[in-house]
Amino acid sequence: MRRSPSAEAGAASATRRTAVGGRSGIGRLVPRLPILGDLRLGRRLGWVIPMLIVLVAAIVVYNARAIAEQRGSALVVYTAARQRAFVERYTTDVLLKVDGFQADPEESAEDVREPVDVLLDGGSVRAPQGGGARVEIQPARDWRVRRKLEQDRRLIDALIRTGDQLQEGGRDDRSYETNVTRLRVLSAQLSSVSNDAVREITQQAEASISRLVRIEIALGLLGVLAALALGLLLRRAGAEQAAQFRSLVNNSSDLITVLTPDGTIAYQSPSVQRVLGRRAGALVGAALVDLVHPDDRHQVNAALTRLMEAPGATASFGCRLQHEDGSWRHVESICTNLADDPRVNGLVLNIRDVTEQAALRQSISDLLHNLARRSQGLVDRQLELIDELERNEVDPDRLDELFRMDHLATRMRRNVENLIVLSGVDQRRRWSESVPLRDVVEAAVAEVEDYSRVQVAGIHDLTLSGQAASDVAHLLAELVENATSFSSPTTRVEVSGGPAGNGYVLEIGDHGIGMSDTELAEANRRLAAPLAADNIAVSRMMGFHVVGRLAARHGIRVQLRPRWFGGITALVLLPTTLLGSAGEHPAMAPPVSAGVTVAPEPLLLANSTESRWQPRAHLPLRRQAAPAPDRGGDTDPAAEAGDPFG
């Protein structure tokens, strides 16, 4: 019986949950059943599940009760049957005692009474398994059984009375013979009545067992039906969900592609028809790279190979895929490695057609570039005009004004060139011959607002490729501008250089307050991986993007690092391929000083050789540093620093 209360409680709590959670009926209960996972059933058929639960609970409860009941009836049969043996023993004990043998009819009399008393009134008997345990027996309920048992009890009373008389009288009593006969008769009667009682009880038990079996069969059938119904229901819900998912996949504008580890297409969603005009079936088994634009293949292969080595990882890349009609579609792909998932066992690519966005981006970039080109032409003409004016000017005051104009126009030219760089079009100025490195540095300094604070010293006699000279000048100008803007106007900014193992290093050091670790990390990240033009507008480190772009164009490496006494050093590594020796001088001729000689900082150099170009984890945005002085009142100097768009 112990299981039934909990089973009932389970059923009850299930019902209660239905009531509590039933915002809109029984169907609400369904998603809460953990065995169903996230399967959602139709509300219409949701009632099947609670019904099944109630049914199963009922079967469990009924079984428990029936089993307990049958166990009791077996005990009853056993107890009743034992009584016959007790009666026999009592009769024998009495006769033996009277004949003078050792026997204890009193104890036997107790044994004879006990089964009947227990069967009629309830109580406990010694368990048939032995061991002294006692088992409760419920009073008999059936009236036929009770009648037999009461008859039994009356006869037992008579038997025991007769036994008592025999013991009192002994063998010599006159009524000895009569009493012995009577004892035997009563004993025989008792046996007969007990037999009847046992038969009644057995019949009762048999009847209830057969009833139980019938009910069990009925319940079992119901259970099977309910299970079948549930199965159908789940199948139908699963089919609906699958259909829904299939329709999602089929009608999505994104492509879903599963690649095997060797790069062939294992599954292709039908939406490929819409995006690439190809049939999904025809693509299965083909290699994805065959669809990729030849210029993008290397990059796609690299991305996929890298991803293949990291199960569970996600990567994204953009490329062009060929349409059936031969045109190229720009796509962005998000790729997840599910090689560890036995149901997928490959890479899952979510490919989105971004051709329109790419075209839009291109047109914005073209627009930017176009405007910048025109401005550049105008600024160049303006500078030529200023050159002419300066040439003929002898009055110091007027020349001073011209110089200011010249300087402003020079800085404007740099800003315009920033725009061209950011537009993504590689339209650098190319010079027919290589340019002395010192001239390049000087040109960079001339483009900076606070050029008079810049000291150039110790640049070796090298030349820079005419292809790269303008870009390097621009790159240096951005870094020097950054250094002057974020250091006190009373301090100097030093530009120096020195040979490195794989090129030549220019160092631009300032005495500013430096950058926080996070700012430094951010700036170095920008320098190492400049964003696309359309992302830069939101960035406040545009100057660093420009530097990053220019550096990437020529294989130059740029890194900012803090100086131990405050301020920042920008290190620019010019690769050997860009460099040449100037005239007769050997490649690394000793530096000829220009301007004021500034000894290079030995500590910094020593420091920087060990791990010069290892990107540091910490880097910065230099916006919070000391504002540059507003010298000419012409522009906001802070806005210009490394951030030409202000």
């Binding site: 160049d380 500078l383 040439r391 110089f403 300087h407 190319r430 010079w431 001239d439 040109a443 000048a473």
Partner: protein, 129 residues
């Protein structure tokens, strides 16, 4: 003296990138307010070791002026602005790198030949060249 050849538009590197204001740090007023164009500049002899600490323009001027060259000629030969040349030469004189031979104002204004005569001389000179 500067490399680079020309760019696509035929400009030279120095024309494009060398800005005159950098040579003097933006100063336009010479140390000697009245430095005449005809002032002769001569580099002090035996000063070579001192040249190492000078800027590029200073070194060029020092190299050019071993024989004594006028300010105007320096400007033309080195392609420097006249105003810039005057500032640099003035600085160099103060540093003791060069000495200046300034024309003495020997003639009073009243003794100058009439303007008409000067113009005729100028005209004649133009005809010669």
């Amino acid at each position: 003296m500067s490399g680079g050849g020309t760019d696509e538009g035929g400009r030279t590197w120095s024309r494009h990138y060398r800005r005159p204001y950098t040579a003097t740090g933006g100063r336009t007023r010479p140390a000697h307010d009245d430095l005449e164009l005809e002032t002769l500049v001569q580099t002090v002899t035996g000063i070579d070791e001192q040249l190492a600490g000078l800027g590029r323009e200073q070194r060029s001027i020092a190299a050019l002026c071993r024989e004594g060259v006028s300010v105007a000629e320096i400007s033309a030969r080195l392609d420097l602005l006249l105003g810039v040349t005057r500032v640099i030469v003035g600085d160099m004189e103060l540093q003791g790198v060069v000495v200046l031979h300034r024309p003495r104002a020997t003639v009073a204004d009243a003794d100058l030949p009439p303007l008409e005569l000067l113009e005729r001389v100028l005209h004649g000179l133009r005809n010669i060249s």
